[in-house]
């Protein structure tokens, strides 16, 4: 009798223990996303939804309100996830090269066959679609309406430049921007963007284009090596920064006037300074704010975080971001994005700069992680100039 009772207790204990362990494991599994690192990402204008394409071709839709995510496809082009401005629709391409614009509810708004894209954007009215192929060629439209915008040599492109071509377009569909590698000093008038007889592209650096005519407006020069640039939602400002630590900005109404962003600890480099290289007088640090440790001028990406007023600059191997206000070269504030989990800014992952995305309207920033398919989401408060991490999935 005693023995039977012991046995009963033993089995109850074993089952209970197994249940506890199972619950812990289930919880562990459910709290984590099982996908490869994010390669490209977009945030809806409302800030509620995030779409991400992962290295293992997963396409995941994240719901910030519900703190849930769902895998929509396991055949997504790594560089294709993006949101359509002003809508709840997102853009992606599958590995059969079909581009789809669909709402977060699953309604398909557009679907067409295209070449494998290495960066694409679409306007809110879905009428302007720009895409880059693997050789840096940029096209407008799709299907019968497709025509080349930039096709002037095989490099620098995605494979060659070590990063994909970054395309961005303002909300008014006035300008779009291409950015990739270095700059080029030849005049636009002397270098047609459709001259594919030459070996090397003349539009590798940051170039501002007219979104209507699809013609280059200005080459925005001064960056070095791998460069990321973006245009403000209202189309007034272009900001760029690169792997050499050079940060620049332009007003699109005066594209010939280049402004330097202040480096975090040194200030603004004065181009016309008469002093020898290395002389501290070559720098203006008059309006620098106190910078915390851990910042890095070598830049992975820049992204607008509050309409066209504020943007963030993300340094390589750094968990800090610098906040800038458009029109001013001086950093306004610095944010600690958190050391753990390690963000996509760590390592030499310049080709993953599209794993950083924002909704400037909602003040939402989403970032991929260095390894693993997780995501960190932040909310910007424009009144307090604060950035708070609101969701982390590992």
């Amino acid at each position: 009798m005693v023995s039977t009772k012991h046995k009963k207790m033993y089995w109850i204990g074993t089952i209970f223990g197994a249940f506890i362990i199972f619950s812990i494991l289930l919880n562990f599994v459910l709290q984590r996303v099982w996908a490869a690192p994010i390669m490209s990402m977009g945030v809806s204008e409302s800030g509620r939804y995030i779409i991400s394409a992962h290295r293992n071709n997963n396409l995941i839709l994240w719901d910030l309100h519900e703190k849930k995510w769902s895998t929509l496809s396991s055949k997504a082009n790594l560089y294709s996830a993006n949101f359509v401005p002003g809508t709840t629709a997102f853009l992606w391409q599958d590995t059969d090269n079909v581009v789809t614009v669909q709402t977060t509810d699953g309604e398909v708004l557009r679907q067409f066959k295209h070449f494998p894209t290495y960066g694409h954007v679409i306007s809110s009215d879905l009428k302007t679609y720009l895409s880059a192929d693997e050789n840096w060629n940029v096209f407008s439209g799709y299907g019968d309406t497709k025509h080349p915008v930039l096709n002037d040599g095989v490099v620098p492109g995605f494979i060659s430049a070590g990063k994909l071509l970054n395309l961005s377009m303002d909300r008014n569909i006035t300008f779009f921007l291409t950015a990739g590698f270095d700059d080029d000093h030849s005049a636009i008038s002397k270098s047609s963007p459709l001259n594919n007889s030459q070996r090397f592209s003349k539009y590798g650096g940051v170039t501002l284009w007219d979104a209507e005519t699809k013609q280059p407006v200005a080459k925005l020069r001064g960056n070095s090596s791998k460069t990321h640039a973006t245009i403000s939602p209202d189309g007034q400002w272009v900001v760029s920064a690169d792997e050499a630590g050079i940060g620049l900005f332009w007003n699109t109404s005066q594209p010939k006037i280049r402004h330097r962003l202040a480096s975090y600890y040194g200030g603004i480099y004065l181009d016309d300074s008469p002093y020898e290289t290395g002389d501290p007088r070559n720098w203006d640090n008059s309006e620098l704010i106190k910078a915390p440790p851990g910042l890095n001028d070598f830049t992975i990406a820049v992204a607008f975080i509050h309409n066209s007023e504020y943007y963030l600059r993300f340094g390589n191997n750094s968990h800090m971001a610098a906040l800038f206000k458009t029109g001013s070269p001086w950093p306004v504030k610095y944010f600690d994005l958190g050391e753990s989990p390690k963000l996509v800014t760590y390592g030499s992952q310049y080709s993953r700069n599209t794993a950083i995305a924002t909704s400037p309207e909602a003040g939402i920033l989403a970032m991929g992680h260095q390894s693993g398919g997780g995501i960190s989401v932040y909310q910007f408060d424009p009144d307090e100039l604060a950035l708070e991490r609101v969701w982390v999935v590992e």
């Binding site: 430049a161 090397f200 070095s224 792997e243 050499a244 630590g245 480096s263 390589n316």
Partner: protein
């Protein structure tokens, strides 16, 4: 072979008036063969080979005896040939000048080097005189800085200079890295003839086809650079030769400091070559690999010191095995105990300096391969060992991998392998000053007793101490004498574009244009300080530029922050290219992956040379 026709028809090969006649009754004719290079310049015939005509007879040519490249010397006349189909067979002479084209009035044929060597070139002998042109690739250019040779051999010949002038008026100089022997050219397929261009080793061993040592690097680099510029790999007409520098960096695989000394001595000899090119108005681009950076930076530092600004258009330092602050303008930032870590004037000589670095380089730093995911770490040690062994066996450059297992051989550069744990600078210094040994003795407090009663065992100690003192006095005197004697001659030579004298006792300072008595005295002090420390440096070396790039030294918060380097990046003079994502070994550019080719060769190097610089050959 590719052929294109100049005419809308092919000339008849049938001899007029001899239809149906036996071959012996065919009419005879001649062939006038001209020789030129791929730039169209006449090249003298040394041996024009022979033509086997339709009757099977071999006919040799009449050629001029002159070796100058005049139009007359570039002609060979084959007479008394039977009309009809014939074949031209030629010896692979001059050596290394491969046949790449054969033009007649009706046809242009193009060959890969060596392609038509066995079977000969078909041509049709027609009545009268058939004119044809044989097009050869110019010979390769290798400047050997290994042996003690007359200064003139460090320079290009007039003929070579003319070639680069005619070939776009630019020249690309390549300097190989550490531990590369001089080697030799490979063979053309199964022929005994030397191959001076890259051949596809799919079926035959790479070393057999593409040579060994510096020659192997030469054919690989020249080929890839041409491909990056636009050469399609089939039509060799636009192919450009580069200038390959061979220097004695093969110091037994482990004596890095000796290799550094050799690099600086070679850099001294390289400076006049750069002056020669610049003096001829030829634009220069320079690419160095690994410790070849020290050769390049020595030459540029010397030329920068004597006031030769922007002599080099682009300097590309590919995985440079020098300190990350090597390009600073401030010699006080040098942490090398003997003062050979920085090249303060080198930046003046190059318009742009591009640093291609990678964290995947297991030689220059601990390999931080980002692909080593958690699953990899979970593998059992046995599986790991098997995988590593497989990695070694399949590595392109096994020495890379073996040295990489030491978790970054460069960090240990102040040690001497294999006894790197306990020797410090000792072996290299003692080799350098072998006539002044001993220079150290084991210091210990004198015994508290009268000298007269010193036990016999202490007598050698005092003798040794005195001997060391004498040696130091003698060495110091000789070092100062050398500095005095060579100071002005060095400056004079460099001003005249001649090879500057090489320092022997002051060899660690050979990267300087000249050494003033004050610098020499400072050097002696450094040397003594090192000796007191039993040849051990007090500071660790700075990380390699080829591993970290400028990232550490331009960290504005760091105590090592170098404003000059930081500013040079901001004004676009220094350009970092982080290749960590695609270059995963120290010598991965020799046989590059597609990614390395596209991202490093095409985008980071050739695009700059062609689009922003002075061009590459005719591109």
């Amino acid at each position: 072979m590719t052929a294109t026709s100049n005419l809308p028809f092919s000339p008849s090969t049938a001899p007029l008036g001899a239809h149906g006649a036996p071959t012996c009754k065919h009419e005879t004719a001649s062939v006038l063969l001209r020789r030129c290079d791929n730039l169209g310049r006449p090249r003298a015939f040394i041996n024009a080979g022979s033509i086997k005509d339709e009757s099977g007879k071999f006919v040799t040519a009449e050629i001029q005896k002159g070796t100058e490249h005049t139009p007359e010397n570039a002609e060979a006349r084959f007479a008394q040939l039977v009309t009809g189909k014939a074949k031209w067979h030629w010896p692979a002479e001059p050596e290394g000048e491969h046949l790449i084209g054969f033009d007649t009035v009706s046809e242009q044929r193009r060959f890969a080097p060596g392609e038509a060597l066995s079977e000969g070139v078909e041509l049709t002998v027609i009545q009268g005189e058939r004119k044809a042109t044989a097009i050869h690739l110019p010979p390769p250019v290798v400047i050997d800085l290994r042996e003690e040779t007359p200064a003139s051999t460090d320079l290009l010949t007039n003929e070579q200079l003319d070639y680069f002038r005619a070939n776009g008026n630019n020249a690309l100089v390549f300097i190989h890295g550490y531990n590369v022997p001089h080697g030799e050219w490979g063979k053309l397929g199964w022929h005994s003839s030397k191959a001076t261009v890259w051949q596809d080793p799919q079926t035959v061993n790479d070393e057999y086809l593409n040579g060994a040592g510096a020659h192997n690097w030469a054919v690989h680099m020249e080929y890839r650079l041409n491909r990056a510029a636009g050469f399609d790999g089939e039509n060799w007409m636009p192919y450009s030769r580069i200038i390959n520098i061979s220097w004695p960096g093969n110091t037994g695989a482990t004596d890095f400091m000796q290799a550094e000394l050799n690099a600086m001595a070679a850099g001294r000899r390289l400076a006049p070559l750069l002056q020669q090119l610049a003096g001829a108005g030829i634009a220069i681009n320079l690419i160095s690999h690994s410790l070849g950076a020290r050769v390049a930076l020595t030459a540029l530092n010397i030329l920068g010191t004597v006031g030769k600004p922007n002599m080099v258009d682009h300097l590309f330092l590919w995985q440079p095995a020098v300190a990350d602050n090597a390009l600073t303008n401030d010699s006080n930032r040098d942490v090398h105990p003997l003062g050979l870590g920085v090249f303060p004037s080198a930046h003046k000589t190059a318009r742009k300096i591009v640093v291609l670095h990678s964290r995947g380089d297991g030689i220059l730093g601990p390999d931080s391969n980002e692909s080593n995911d958690w699953w990899w770490r979970l593998l059992s040690p046995a599986s790991w060992a098997v995988a590593e062994a497989w990695g070694l066996a399949t590595a392109d450059d096994p020495m890379d991998e073996i040295l990489g297992k030491l978790r970054g051989a460069y960090d240990k550069k102040w040690w001497t392998f294999p006894s790197f744990l306990d020797n410090g600078f000792g072996p290299a210094i003692e080799k350098l000053y072998k006539n002044y040994l001993p220079l150290t003795f084991e210091a210990r407090p004198p015994a508290p007793r009268m000298i007269a009663h010193r036990p016999p065992s202490e007598v050698p100690y005092f003798r040794l101490k005195n001997k060391v003192k004498e040696n130091w006095a003698r060495l110091e005197k000789d070092i100062l004498t050398e500095a005095d004697a060579l100071w002005q001659p060095c400056i004079d030579c460099l001003r005249k574009g001649e090879r500057p004298p090489e320092y022997t006792l002051l060899a660690p300072l050979n990267h300087r244009a000249s050494i003033s008595p004050q610098v020499a005295r400072d050097y002696v002090l450094r040397l003594k300080k090192l000796a007191v420390n039993n040849w051990f440096p007090e500071q660790a070396p700075r990380p390699a530029l080829g591993y970290v790039g400028f990232k550490k030294i331009t960290d504005e918060q760091g105590i090592e922050f170098d404003r000059f380097l930081y500013e040079s990046m901001n004004n676009g003079s220094f350009i970092p290219v982080d290749q960590s994502q695609w270059l995963s070994s120290h010598s991965g550019m020799r046989i590059p992956s597609e990614e390395v080719f596209k991202r490093s060769y095409e985008t980071a190097i050739m695009r700059r040379i062609i689009s922003e610089g002075e061009g590459f050959g005719q591109y």
